[in-house]
Symmetry: C2
Subunit: 131 residues, 2 copies
């Protein structure tokens, strides 16, 4: 019982789990990806819609969207020429909302955007808000 070096097998699993969790958080650790979440958490949108809304380049948005899709947090649907993306991981959207509330609260001890940040979630199914 000296340290972390004993029931090896299980520990490897735990290690692997930490990497998975880190990867999960990585998705949300980038402003552009957060803006994307913010843009499509309520309704699916096409790549070009998102590009226009965020004022970013198509290449960049496409990369982020693909990354998020591979990570399983976005789903996509192709319709003719265009591809619609939407949030596929309700838990992530909720976590986003929680953290946004948390940050907004500790950012505004002066009142502003909090509402906007919280908007990250559609009809907020009233709940937690540890804020």
């Amino acid at each position: 019982m000296d340290s972390v070096r004993e029931n090896g097998a299980k520990l490897d699993k735990l290690e692997h789990a930490f990497e998975a969790v880190a990867a999960y958080f990585s998705v949300l650790s980038e402003p552009t990806r957060l803006r994307i979440m913010h843009a499509i958490c309520e309704e699916e949108k096409t790549v070009s819609q998102i590009v226009e809304e965020l004022g970013a380049t198509q290449t960049n948005i496409s990369r982020h969207l693909n990354m998020m899709h591979r990570s399983g947090v976005l789903a996509r649907r192709k319709q003719g020429n265009q591809v619609y993306y939407r949030a596929a991981d309700a838990a992530m959207v909720e976590i986003c909302r929680d953290v946004c509330g948390h940050i907004a609260a500790q950012m505004d001890e002066k009142k502003p955007l909090r509402g906007d940040l919280l908007r990250l979630m559609p009809k907020s199914r009233g709940k937690k808000r540890t804020v």
Copy 2:
């Protein structure tokens, strides 16, 4: 109402907020930092305790601890020779626990460590668990 370019002032705030939220998630987007959270979320520990428990180098742990402290998620207390670190952001610990549960659930559709991951939080004040 063409795009994102209208009520500018507020928008800048929102932009800044996205960066803050991304920074917040960045803290959790690294396996070693997650292991640190896992190690001290229940009780404060000294740097050397953490180093030994994680089997990492003192330099590396120290850097992460300082980073997490500057980010406001850890608090520290110096006592004599040593420095005790502890979780200072209850919301973050809770988010960790939520995500760990989420990931554990979608990792084990085969049953293992889930319990260990959830242990991330001490006496889990029964709640959500959207899992």
